[in-house]
């Protein structure tokens, strides 16, 4: 039922500057790339990808950028929130050699997919891109999995100086990957889409969401593809048909906004 279930926050953790994880009781299955609608009572209800998947506990990781994320940031262990979901279609791990590229808070979305890839013994390279060092999170968590991890910062404060797409292009030219899996700023994902030509390219899109279950039409891209239902993860074949991909999104009123 698409109705917020009230649950208790079991843990909160600072991950990086202005970035926090909250964990809550939520038994049940969820695929990496799927998301919840999180109700912060009296404030707002917002979409958040799952970033931690345990049998009974799930978590989300977010950066505070406005009213809702600020309110969520200030909640503590024991506080109550409402959860609906899980929603949408997550990542499908098809290839045995996968390149993961996460930008900004998109890192939180791809990390559970990296964990699953490792569980399935797929070889994976991971590139994380952030503006500057103190925005980076999940570095230790991903390293511990035993993948090859590469960090990019725009300002060179850590790792490779430059955009994640630049490093990704070098990797793609040098190595063989079956799949590229990405979440981050849409401009970044569009660039990767142009660089990596194989079929198995999967990107997780973000659009303004209201219902989350495919009825209101707020999140539609291309010819009526609902990001909350047919997405948020789209493969190359679908992305090719979405002419708004990398070009514009819509605000809460439905107005187009250039990306």
């Amino acid at each position: 039922m698409n109705f917020p279930k009230i649950t208790t926050i079991t843990e909160t953790k600072n991950e990086a500057k202005n970035t926090k994880t909250i964990k809550f009781n939520f038994p049940g299955k969820i695929d990496p790339g799927q998301f919840f609608m999180i109700w912060i009572p009296n404030v707002d209800e917002i979409p958040m990808s799952v970033s931690f998947i345990d049998e009974k506990i799930k978590g989300v990781t977010f950066r505070k950028i406005g009213d809702a994320t600020n309110a969520l940031f200030n909640l503590k262990k024991g506080d109550k929130i409402g959860i609906r979901g899980p929603y949408g279609k997550g990542f499908k791990l098809n290839g045995k050699n996968i390149l993961f590229v996460g930008g900004g808070t998109g890192i939180s979305t791809i990390t559970p997919a990296i964990e699953e890839a490792i569980k399935n013994k797929f070889s994976s390279n991971v590139i994380l891109g952030v503006k500057t060092k103190n925005e980076l999170f999940f570095e230790e968590r991903i390293k511990k999995l035993g993948t090859n991890l590469f960090i990019c910062t725009d300002d060179g404060s850590k790792g490779y100086k430059g955009f994640a797409t630049k490093l990704a292009e070098e990797f793609i030219n040098k190595n063989y990957y079956n799949s590229v899996i990405t979440c981050g700023p849409e401009i970044m994902m569009k660039k990767l889409f142009d660089i990596f030509k194989r079929n198995d390219f999967q990107a997780s899109l973000e659009r303004y969401m209201k219902c989350g279950f495919g009825l209101c039409g707020q999140c539609c891209v291309g010819e009526g593809l609902r990001v909350c239902k047919e997405g948020p993860v789209f493969n190359r074949a679908k992305l090719k048909k979405i002419k708004d991909f990398g070009i514009y999104k819509r605000d809460a009123s439905g107005r187009k906004i250039k990306l």
Binding site: M37, E45, L215, C216, Q218, V221, L225, S253
Partner: protein, 279 residues
């Protein structure tokens, strides 16, 4: 799914005969904060708050739809007759095939139902819009009224070409744990399965009181639901919430179910059953 050209195209290709746009106003409007929609046991509760990009920005969406020759009913909302007529005029210029006047949204201050409950205003707005545009004008009315036939008659007097009934029903859901209404706007409009008997009754009552066609809407999920509306006096139907319950294929499914029902009951033409319940 009626906010942008892409999704309306998908709905049309899925078998709808025409698409009704989201209700459009003069200026962009974000609507209420979330939660704006939730599912309850027997239906959907929403208080979107009339989000829309504003009529100027909507031009491109209609143009896009008309490229594929999709019949478009432009839904509009305003607070006065001159607002309605400006919106209608724009919709007509952009290429809409008909106008639907939203006088029934139950949760927007100064709009919708607040206008649609006053027969004088309904008549005045309808006739002003009728004088402004050449395309057909439909008036969508609310079930949250005790004088629903009076409102329908007022629309008819204003020369409306058709009545659309019903919009959602005012409702509320309270969360027991938090002791608070779930929707940010507290009050919303109820749609889906639960409201079908109410819609059928409204259409039946309106049919007894006006001589213009009625478009039935409210809780139509199956061919049989549509047929019930036809028997109550509707000549066409709209589908909303069923899109969630049965997916985008709902339009083709309902059409097939209507045809099968007709075959089974030896009905050659749908007109044979329209208003059949009025004896």
């Amino acid at each position: 799914m009626d906010e942008d050209a892409g999704s309306m195209t998908r709905i049309f290709k899925a078998g709808a005969g025409a698409v009704v746009t989201k209700s459009i106003g003069l200026k962009p409007r974000e609507g209420y904060p979330n939660p704006t929609i939730i599912e309850l046991e027997c239906g959907i509760l929403n208080a979107m708050g009339l989000p829309n990009p504003g009529i100027d920005n909507f031009k491109d969406e209609i143009a896009e739809l008309k490229k594929s020759k999709i019949p478009v009913i432009g839904s509009i909302f305003g607070s006065k007759s001159d607002e309605f007529s400006k919106l209608a005029k724009n919709m007509e210029e952009y290429g809409a095939d008909a106008i639907e006047l939203n006088m029934s949204c139950p949760h927007a201050k100064g709009y919708g139902l607040e206008i649609g409950s006053d027969p004088k205003l309904v008549k005045e707005i309808t006739s002003t819009v009728k004088k402004t545009v050449k395309i057909p004008v439909f008036v969508k009315i609310s079930p949250n009224l005790i004088n629903i036939s009076e409102i329908a008659k007022a629309a008819e007097k204003g020369k409306a070409d058709s009545i659309v009934a019903i919009n959602t029903i005012k409702a509320m859901k309270i969360d027991l744990e938090l002791k608070t209404p779930v929707l940010a706007n507290k009050v919303g409009g109820y749609s889906g399965d639960a409201i079908k008997p109410i819609g059928v009754r409204c259409v039946y009552e309106i049919a007894d009181n006006v001589n213009i066609p009625i478009i039935g809407v409210g809780g139509i999920h199956t061919g049989k639901d549509a047929i019930e509306y036809f028997m109550a006096g509707a000549t066409a139907v709209q589908i909303g919430s069923a899109l969630y319950y049965r997916g985008a294929k709902v339009f083709k499914k309902i059409c097939n179910e209507i045809e099968n029902w007709m075959k089974y009951h030896n009905v050659k033409n749908i007109s044979e059953i329209i208003g059949a319940a009025h004896k």
